[in-house]
Assembly symmetry: C2
Homo-oligomer: 138 residues x 2
DNA sequence: AATGTTAGTCTCAAAATGAGAGCAGGGCTA
DNA sequence: TAGCCCTGCTCTCATTTTGAGACTAACATT
């Protein structure tokens, strides 16, 4: 109630109205549909890497050590499908594949970056909150 | 390479250095640890709702029609644990429980909102990109 | 000839999620 | 007084998603 999230009543109404058609239905909201892919387990991490510079498949795998090849392939394909990532195959032997951000990917990442910045600035507070919660519930 | 994601080489280096200790290790990066919860399947949707005004459990369930009670409970508890959401029980009969954003939750949501705004403005482009990809791969 | 490299795919196990019943403790209606 | 509804959950079991690791093909290196 302190005004910091000012105009969000309106905002949520807008999202609602973009849903299936029934008033108040968030189930088929297109905003939700778009962010779902960006918020998937590995997407933001790969986007962070690709915002730095283009990477090859194997480089990404080494950079994000706990991703499986399966999910790396799948997440990259999803990001490519949504238009954030460009995939280019070089006909070397063995072939190499380079992934890079598109203009749209960079545009989206500019917005994502705000939240990453917040997390960077506030992860200690979150850690503290978690510790307090865990201590209180015992 | 057009400079729009300017200082992100540096940024990623910072995230890397905050990892386990080995250079270039993103596995235990605290930023990643924090955003993971915000990016979970239902969190952003509930945050959007709670940014509008406090809601009761049953209200949230009706507002987000395709969430299961199980995941609603669990996601709310995670958000509470991380310090974004306040849970208050009113001793009515039957008891009612109200969820609201904390100051930290509002602060975080201000950053998240940038991305939601981008998705709102660009979901048509994403839809187009998907259609093009799906048509090309057949 | 043996081994390593590339970017994947395939299979099977493990983890996360969904669907739906159950619960406690009252208030309503009949 | 019996029966049903309301609340905010938890529990169980089925389905979906993700992870771990083997396998591929064609070449380079040792």
């Amino acid at each position: 109630m302190d005004g910091r999230v000012s105009n969000f009543r309106t905002q949520l109404e807008v999202y609602r109205s973009k849903g299936g058609g029934e008033a108040g239905d968030l189930a088929n909201c297109p905003v939700r549909n778009v962010v779902q892919n960006i918020f998937s387990k590995w997407a933001s991490l790969l986007l962070m890497a690709l915002a730095e510079r283009p990477y090859r498949f194997g480089e990404l795998r080494r950079l994000v050590p706990d991703i499986s090849q399966r999910m790396l392939t799948q997440t990259l394909r999803d990001l490519q499908r949504d238009g954030y990532v460009h995939r280019e195959v070089f006909p070397t032997k063995p072939p190499s594949v380079e992934y890079s951000l598109t203009d749209m990917g960079r545009s989206m990442f500019d917005s994502l970056q705000h939240l990453l910045g917040w997390a960077d600035a506030n992860f200690e507070k979150v850690r503290t909150a978690r510790a307090r919660f865990d201590a209180a519930e015992g």
